[in-house]
Symmetry: C2
Subunit: 238 residues, 2 copies
DNA sequence: GTCTATATACCGATAGAC
DNA sequence: GTCTATCGGTATATAGAC
């Protein structure tokens, strides 16, 4: 799957999610027309992410959000009951999209090597199109309440587990040489996150998301494919 | 060098730096007695880092800082002229310490392999003792003004360059197999940063800084030492 | 050098007109 | 469904007593 194809799939999921959020919030939200609500919700989320990523969510005043989104203070409060609820809605929306998109990208029937490559690429593509959300999530997790923080950690661990599973499968088939699948998954995830957090660095060096994906895949593969392949082992498919 | 030895070296450097800061700020600072000033500065920095790392620097009110540090609002403003200046002072102090400690840890006379191991370990030890500052720096860089942001990026690139230099030296001596030293250094740095940013994850798994250092060293080495070592190459010292 | 008291501005949130 | 006007609270920063 190329980046452009991926982009289309993810955009569709994005709309799905705005509808889902509206459906769930219909009780607490004052707006009743779905078309209006979904349009404004997407608008608010976008404006909030843009402003928050400049100086942080706490520093974003609702007056600034009102200005950027084009909605009045009063109108904003038709979509959430407090600034904190807005924070939670944004976090939820991103987590949902991450889960939805990632799980669709990996084919459990293919070889561990192919799955690993697909997972790395899909994760990078995802951070690329949801760059603002990932950065936001990264920076604002500590400002959530206990319950939301727990969800955020679970989401992180779930993504990591995708890599743990692939690595363990590769271990069982003797195609990966990994001493510690959990730690290996952690550092792989750290490399992927860097693409989002240190975006300025890669932009300055004119490295594209595909350049970075190719490099990370190469780096990880040479770390775990083992430098002394034992040709006598069975199940060797890579 | 063990972690405990490292700790002592770094603590000494920390005091040096508080004196340096006092010397430089003597003009703008109202306090004239060095002993008082250094003691309170260290106190203020520590309180500010603790509070900032809970909800972010912007969310930390100076009233809260006053409460935690034990100094009154008025007294605080004897040490800085604005909240933003405090932010800059904290960033400066950490950058200075990083530079000072890291440069003392790597022996340019040793082999690339040893230098790489030392650099990884030193960086992790440093993030361990300056955990609060690194987290702070990570989270608050975007809230700095343009000039300070530039300094922050330069500091990041300088640390990365330490690894680039080691990798290139290893390349020249044909002991490392690296396709792109800059990108390799970037991902190594990403792994090191993860130790600080995802501290909760490693704490929960009861992984010590030495466990993590050993793992990262092993992972990086198996990625770059090359899986088909060519025994006929000269200068091979690892 | 450190304190308390206060000036001024802006925050999140809401009430009520349209 | 969206607006404007305004509430009470709290923020940074400072003035002046001690």
């Amino acid at each position: 799957m190329t980046f452009d194809e991926f982009k289309q799939v993810a955009t569709l999921s994005m709309e799905e999610i705005c509808h889902e959020i509206f459906a769930e919030k219909q009780a607490s939200i004052k707006i009743k027309k779905e078309a209006v609500a979904v349009k404004n919700l997407a608008n608010i989320f976008h404006a909030a992410l843009t402003l928050s990523n400049e100086r942080g969510f706490q520093s974003m005043s609702l007056r600034a959000l009102s200005r950027t989104s084009g909605l009045s203070m009063g109108a904003l409060y038709s979509y959430f009951t407090s600034k904190e609820e807005l924070l939670e809605m944004i976090q939820n929306q991103g987590r949902r999209l991450t889960r939805k998109v990632l799980s669709r990208q990996i084919d459990p029937q293919s070889t561990p090597g192919a799955m690993l490559r697909d997972a790395i690429r899909a994760h990078l593509y995802l951070t690329e199109i949801m760059q603002k959300w990932f950065y936001f999530s990264y920076m604002e997790t500590k400002n959530l309440d206990k319950n939301q923080q727990k969800k955020s950690m679970e989401s992180e661990l779930a993504t990591e587990q995708v890599f743990v599973d692939i690595l363990e499968q590769g271990l069982r088939q003797h195609v990966f040489h990994v001493t510690d699948p959990v730690l290996s998954a952690s550092v792989i995830k750290a490399m992927l996150q860097d693409w989002d957090v240190k975006r300025w660095k890669y932009a300055r060096r004119q490295i594209s998301v595909d350049d970075y994906a190719d490099f990370v895949i190469g780096f990880v593969e040479s770390a775990i494919l083992g430098r002394n392949p034992e040709p006598d082992l069975p199940n060797k498919s890579i």
